[in-house]
């Protein structure tokens, strides 16, 4: 093939022709000149000889494959190596025969253009531009180029897209395009800024504003610009810039501003200021409200030490310590401290601080400050008020306690003395009056109890006790009382008791009894005909009592008022039925206190049902052991009818009247009584070694009270076991507990119930000294000889010694007793009124006691005591029935044993008269015997009969005296003879 060498050599580019494997076939002069390669006709050379290693690989891996596939490559950047080792950048264009010619015959034409600087630069530029475009693309920014002199504005696609225009639609782009899209509010400002750029006074531009989208809405953008080149006069030539859509940003900023504003406003409203201390920079930031609290301008930003100056010294120390702890340990604080504002006014603030930590180390402290001056003062005032209220309450309760004591003391005297009076010789008028006095006394006591209860409730001092009690016992007691009352009014009485009722419950038996009594009394009071019933049953987890009556009922309108104090269903009720109106109120409160409820079902003229429900709390068996068994039974054994014979009692009470009452009560029972008004004196007696079997101690006394006295006594040697019984006006569980804690053994409430008093004393004394077990008998008690008759109902062994072992006398007395208290007498009993009944029972009692007829004595005593307390004959019916039975039994059992009563022998008239002095002496002795109720009086009287006749007593009188003595009715005898003596008739 003829090489067109001369034409080739003229080509401005280096040319090479190779075969399909790169072996050089032809080359031109330029190739030689540029790269020093000899024409291939000489030493054969290869394309690769021209290529430095990098190019070699590139050609191998990129260029040859392309040539083979498409027969050409264009504008490939390459580096060629000349013979001297120099490398030159070139552009390669190559052509090859397409098709499947085998490599050896294939021809490839290579043209290398040496890259000029400009070409290289342009290539670089293209690359740079591409890169830039990619950058912009990724930044999502629009770009603009403003040619200031002509006003032309070139924008990119993104710029246009941002404002809703396809780029093609923005032609020709100029500044007006942009200006037209500015918001009227911002146009002036922005235009001014642009002018500054234009004139050259500003080199840079930044603005955030709105521009109108093609669709009409406003888009928030950030526009930046920079002067790139200037005209000779300094004016801007080219300004390049960006446009970024900041809609989202703006939305966030608005939301932030809104929440900040809200925070600021609400803090202002609440008077809460914020602060922040950056520990790294030691700068302290105060919010507007904090500044306001301190009384400084809102822009005031203090140093830490300046901030602390606002606190008085002590508070400053506190705050400093807290801040220090926060910085070091990361612990926050919450303090109430005084603060002095800039103008000197004093505040109280609440200072809160928390710590921000990074990597476990505190870096920032921040907190809040609140003016709590008003609240602070308010709290102070409240605290004072509370203290005042508390001390007022305390004063009230002390008053209550004192009043209770003060009132009960004279009440005790009244009732006690009335009781004692009843035992003295009284004529019928006096007895009747006394009965009324006793009734009034009891009413007054009941009223006082109600009023004191009310006061306690009002003062909030009423509490319900929690102790084991037997509900059946309570029911039984109520039954005993109210059955009789109902019967006496001609009303039916029913008691319903649930067999499921537990034996022992926890609760306040006394209050329960009080409530049910109140309800039952009311029921009886307001029922003319029909009946009253009490029932108790278990209802799930509750105890349910129902008091039902068929009385006048309560109209529905009045029912809600009923449980208020001082209210009855209608005003006339008080006049008709009496009553204070306190009962139901107190009952309701008591029931509430016990955790239950009191409800009413009634309608006018339809009767009423009151329902008390209480929580059912069964007590366990162990608790029942602690139940104090109240003395309801006077089963104390008596000597001569005296149950405290020989017992020495020391009574301490600051009231002399009370002492007198108690003394009488006790001496009546044969006790030896020592009284002291001051505990100290009583203790002195004990220390001296005075004999004492038991003490009755009033609790509330001036100087030393009963509790203190008891404590001291317990410390004295040998007196740890001395029975000390408390006498008190109050009966609170709390007082009971204190009494027991002080060392007292038992508890008696005033006004004293003589029966309970005697029972308690005898019980405790018995428990202490076994020698006082069976009462000491003057004579030796030996079992009766085997031939003594055995009469059921009579304790012969007990009675005989009293009679001096005179069996005949005994028999005679039994006969006499049975004759006097025969069935006719018993029948008569039921017709007597209270006064007559009392007298009769008294007589029987004395005789029975002497003869050892224990049961008869007991029954008669019970009945008599009840009547003396103001009970009605109807109330002692059970006892009367029992007495009838007992007497019948005695009659039967004695019948077979005794001889027929022999007639009384005539009065001996042949008795030698003693010398008068003797008689007078003997007479005095007779009086003594009579006073002592000594049966020897009978014999003595017989002896003195002649002398008495001689002294002027009539036969009739003497007969009466004898009869009285025989009947063992000594008192009238004694009275008569004393009076007779006093009248001087016995003067000798």
């Amino acid at each position: 093939m003829e090489p067109l060498a001369s034409d080739l050599d003229l080509l401005p580019c280096a040319v090479l022709v190779t075969d399909g494997q790169g072996r050089a076939l032809l080359s031109n002069a330029e190739l030689h000149n540029q790269f020093g390669m000899a024409p291939p006709s000489g030493v054969p050379w290869h394309l690769d000889d021209l290529l430095p290693p990098a190019s070699r690989i590139f050609v191998q891996t990129h260029v040859w494959p392309l040539l083979r596939r498409q027969g050409r490559v264009d504008e490939i950047h390459l580096k060629l190596r000349s013979a001297n080792g120099e490398q030159r950048a070139v552009f390669l264009n190559a052509r090859s025969d397409p098709g499947k010619a085998p490599p050896a015959t294939m021809r490839v034409h290579w043209a290398f253009f040496v890259a000029t600087e400009r070409q290289l630069f342009e290539a670089e530029l293209v690359q740079a531009r591409k890169r830039l475009q990619n950058l912009l693309l990724s930044s999502n920014a629009g770009t603009w180029e403003w040619h200031v002199p002509s006003g032309a504005l070139k924008v990119n696609e993104r710029w246009a897209e941002m404002l809703g225009w396809p780029i093609a639609d923005i032609t020709p782009p100029d500044l007006g395009l942009r200006s037209g899209r500015l918001h009227p509010e911002e146009r002036e400002r922005i235009t001014a800024q642009f002018e500054a750029l234009q004139s050259g006074t500003q080199a840079e531009y930044l603005s955030e504003h709105r521009m109108q989208h093609r669709q009409g809405h406003w888009v928030w953008v950030q526009e930046r610009g920079r002067v790139i080149s200037r005209m000779p006069d300094g004016a801007a030539e080219w300004v390049f810039g960006t446009l970024v859509d900041i809609s989202e940003n703006m939305a966030q900023r608005t939301a932030l501003r809104r929440s900040e504003a809200l925070l600021g406003r609400t803090n202002e409203l609440a008077g809460v200021g914020g602060w922040e201390l950056d520990m790294r920079t030691q700068t302290l930031f105060w919010s507007a409200q904090t500044c306001r609290i301190h009384g400084v301008p809102i822009e005031y930003q203090p140093r830490l030490d300046e901030a602390l100056d606002f606190y008085p010294p002590a508070a400053r120390q506190q705050i400093e310590a807290a801040v220090h702890r926060g910085m070091v340990d990361g612990i926050g604080w919450d303090l109430e401290v005084p603060l002095v504002r800039a103008d000197g006014t004093q505040l109280v603030v609440r200072a809160l601080g928390i710590v921000d930590s990074e990597d476990g180390r505190p870096v920032r402290l921040m907190g809040a400050l609140q003016d709590i001056t008003d609240q602070h003062h308010l709290m102070q005032a409240l605290r004072h008020a509370k203290l005042a209220a508390e001390s007022a309450s305390e004063a009230k309760s002390m008053f209550l306690a004192n009043m209770s004591h003060e009132i009960r003391t004279p009440m005790n005297a009244i009732i006690g003395i009335a009781h004692l009076l009843a035992d003295t010789p009284l004529n019928e008028d006096q007895f009747q009056l006394l009965g009324k006095l006793q009734i009034s006394g009891r009413s007054l006591l009941s009223l006082i109890d109600d009023v004191l209860d009310l006061a306690k409730i009002e003062a909030g001092h009423m509490t319900a006790e929690r102790a084991a009690y037997s509900p059946r016992d309570v029911l039984r007691e109520l039954d005993a009382v109210f059955a009789i009352q109902a019967g006496s009014r001609g009303l039916n009485w029913t008691l319903g008791e649930d067999p499921q009722l537990p034996q022992w419950l926890i609760g306040d038996a006394a209050r329960l009894r009080q409530v049910l009594s109140n309800l039952l009394s009311n029921a009886l009071k307001f029922t003319q005909a029909g009946g009253v019933s009490l029932s108790a049953r278990v209802d799930g987890a509750q105890l349910r009592f129902s008091v039902r009556d068929s009385g006048i009922g309560i109209p529905i309108e009045s029912q809600s008022k009923l449980f208020q104090p001082f209210v009855q269903a209608d005003g006339s009720t008080t006049r008709r039925f009496g009553g204070t109106g306190l009962g139901l109120f107190i009952s309701k409160r008591l029931v509430d206190l016990m955790g239950g409820s009191l409800t009413l079902h009634s309608a006018a003229a339809a009767g009423a049902e009151f329902i008390v429900t209480l929580p059912l709390e069964p007590a366990d068996a162990a608790a029942s052991d602690q139940v104090p068994h109240p003395p309801i039974d006077d089963s104390a054994r008596a000597v001569d009818g005296k149950r405290l014979q020989g017992v020495c009692v020391l009574v301490v009470d600051d009231s002399e009247i009370n002492l007198e009452v108690v003394r009488r009560m006790l001496e009546r029972e044969g006790a030896e009584v020592v009284c002291e008004t001051r505990a100290a004196l009583a203790i002195a007696r004990l220390q001296r070694g005075d004999r004492c079997d038991a003490m009755l101690m009033d609790i509330q006394m001036p100087e030393m009270d009963g509790l203190e006295a008891t404590r001291r006594i317990r410390q004295l040697a040998g007196l740890e076991k001395l029975p000390v019984l408390a006498l008190t006006a109050g009966a609170l569980a709390e007082e009971r507990r204190r009494a027991l804690e002080a060392g007292m053994d038992d508890f008696l409430t005033k006004p004293l119930d003589p029966a309970k008093l005697v029972y308690a004393l005898s019980h405790w004394v018995l428990a202490q000294t076994p020698r006082l077990g069976p009462p000491a008998v003057p004579a030796v008690s030996s079992p009766p000889p085997a031939d003594y008759p055995v009469i059921e109902g009579i304790d012969l062994a007990e009675a005989l010694p009293r009679l001096g072992g005179d069996l005949a006398l005994f028999q005679r007395l039994v006969v006499r007793l049975l004759a006097t208290f025969d069935s006719r007498w018993v029948a008569e009993l039921r017709t007597l009124d209270a006064v007559g009944l009392t007298a009769s029972l008294h007589k029987l009692r004395g005789s029975a006691a002497t003869l050892g007829a224990g049961r008869i004595d007991l029954l008669a005593t019970q009945a008599e005591d009840r009547l003396r307390q103001g009970g009605l004959p109807a109330e002692v019916l059970p006892q009367l029935n029992a007495l009838a039975e007992a007497l019948a039994m005695l009659r039967q059992s004695a019948a077979g044993v005794l001889e027929a009563p022999s007639a009384r022998s005539a009065l001996p008239t042949q008795v030698a008269l003693q010398p008068p002095g003797d008689a007078a002496q003997r007479f005095t002795g007779l009086l003594t015997l009579l006073r002592q109720q000594d049966l020897g009086a009978a014999t003595e009287l017989e002896v003195l009969l002649p002398w008495l006749r001689q002294m002027g007593l009539s036969d009739e009188e003497l007969q009466r005296l004898q009869h009285g003595v025989d009947e063992l009715d000594f008192e009238p005898v004694l009275q008569f003879l004393s009076a007779w003596q006093a009248s001087g008739a016995a003067a000798c």
Binding site: Q21, H46, P52, A54, S55, H62, L66, R68, R69, L78
Partner: protein
């Protein structure tokens, strides 16, 4: 993604021992179109594109971490074999960088390849004086990468019509024969992995027998490198093909076929 899909695996023939063809840098499975017809009836032939190369460049996301090292490409081979259930008895036919890739795969799965046929192999392109001459300095290789960058834009514009077949380069069969370059980005990654790899230390560990087909005059893999390989690879046979260039299987396929046949027959005979 299923490796068979990801790597555009093609399986030809049903019976006979398995030939697995692994292409070199900047190529795809189409480059084997001159070879495969010769073994159609006697062998089962498996062809694949590495992830990021050829048609595989479009289908799968390209993990530059994985494919920045030759081990990543070895993993492609293993995954494809696993997907095909091939565990042993495979003959690897590898070109250029696939020789190193294949060796790495063999070290991972010692039982997978029965033997390897290596066309234009080089374990390391860099010179490591005084003992080893891969043929290139680091500067040269960086220069290559620079050239690749410079020609990137032009490259992109070349590629589009070619891939789409817009220049009328044809359908199916033609495309198979034609030589598509890869996506410039993946090419860059593959290039770096290829030209800076140094697998000389792995050579002694290769246990399976191999045939080294050395181009008489190969700028990329000169004879010295081939001889080095022959020394280091146990059980290797060394044959020089009278070819100038680096792609004998494309420029002189009949020479390659002949060499393969002889080797495979010997191996079968020996077995």
């Amino acid at each position: 993604m299923n490796p068979l899909e990801r790597n555009h695996v093609r399986s030809m023939g049903q019976q006979g021992p398995v030939l697995l063809y692994a292409h070199g840098f900047g190529c795809h499975q189409g480059m084997w179109s001159g070879i495969t017809p010769a073994f159609e009836s006697s062998h089962r032939q498996i062809l694949l594109d590495y992830t990021g190369s050829g048609l595989a460049s479009e289908s799968a996301p390209f993990d530059t971490q994985r494919y920045g090292r030759l081990e990543g490409y070895a993993q492609d081979l293993i995954e494809v074999c696993d997907a095909l259930g091939l565990t042993q008895g495979v003959t690897l036919v590898a070109h250029s960088v696939s020789c190193s890739i294949g060796m790495l795969a063999h070290l991972q799965r010692p039982n997978l390849f029965e033997r390897m046929i290596l066309i234009g192999p080089s374990p390391c392109f860099l010179n490591h004086p005084p003992d080893y001459e891969g043929g290139f300095e680091a500067a040269d290789l960086e220069g290559l990468l620079e050239l690749m960058d410079q020609n990137y834009l032009g490259w992109a514009s070349y590629l589009a019509p070619v891939v789409a077949g817009a220049d009328g380069a044809g359908t199916g069969a033609e495309l198979e024969r034609s030589f598509c370059s890869t996506d410039p980005v993946t090419a860059r990654v593959f290039a770096r992995a290829t030209f800076f790899a140094d697998n000389r230390a792995d050579l002694p560990k290769v246990l399976c027998p191999s045939l080294i087909l050395q181009h008489a005059s190969d700028a990329l893999a000169p004879q010295a490198v081939g001889q080095y390989l022959h020394r280091e690879l146990a059980n290797s046979r060394y044959e020089v093909l009278d070819v100038a260039g680096h792609c004998a299987h494309m420029s002189h396929p009949e020479l390659v076929i002949d060499a393969m046949r002889r080797y495979l027959a010997d191996a079968a005979g020996a077995a």
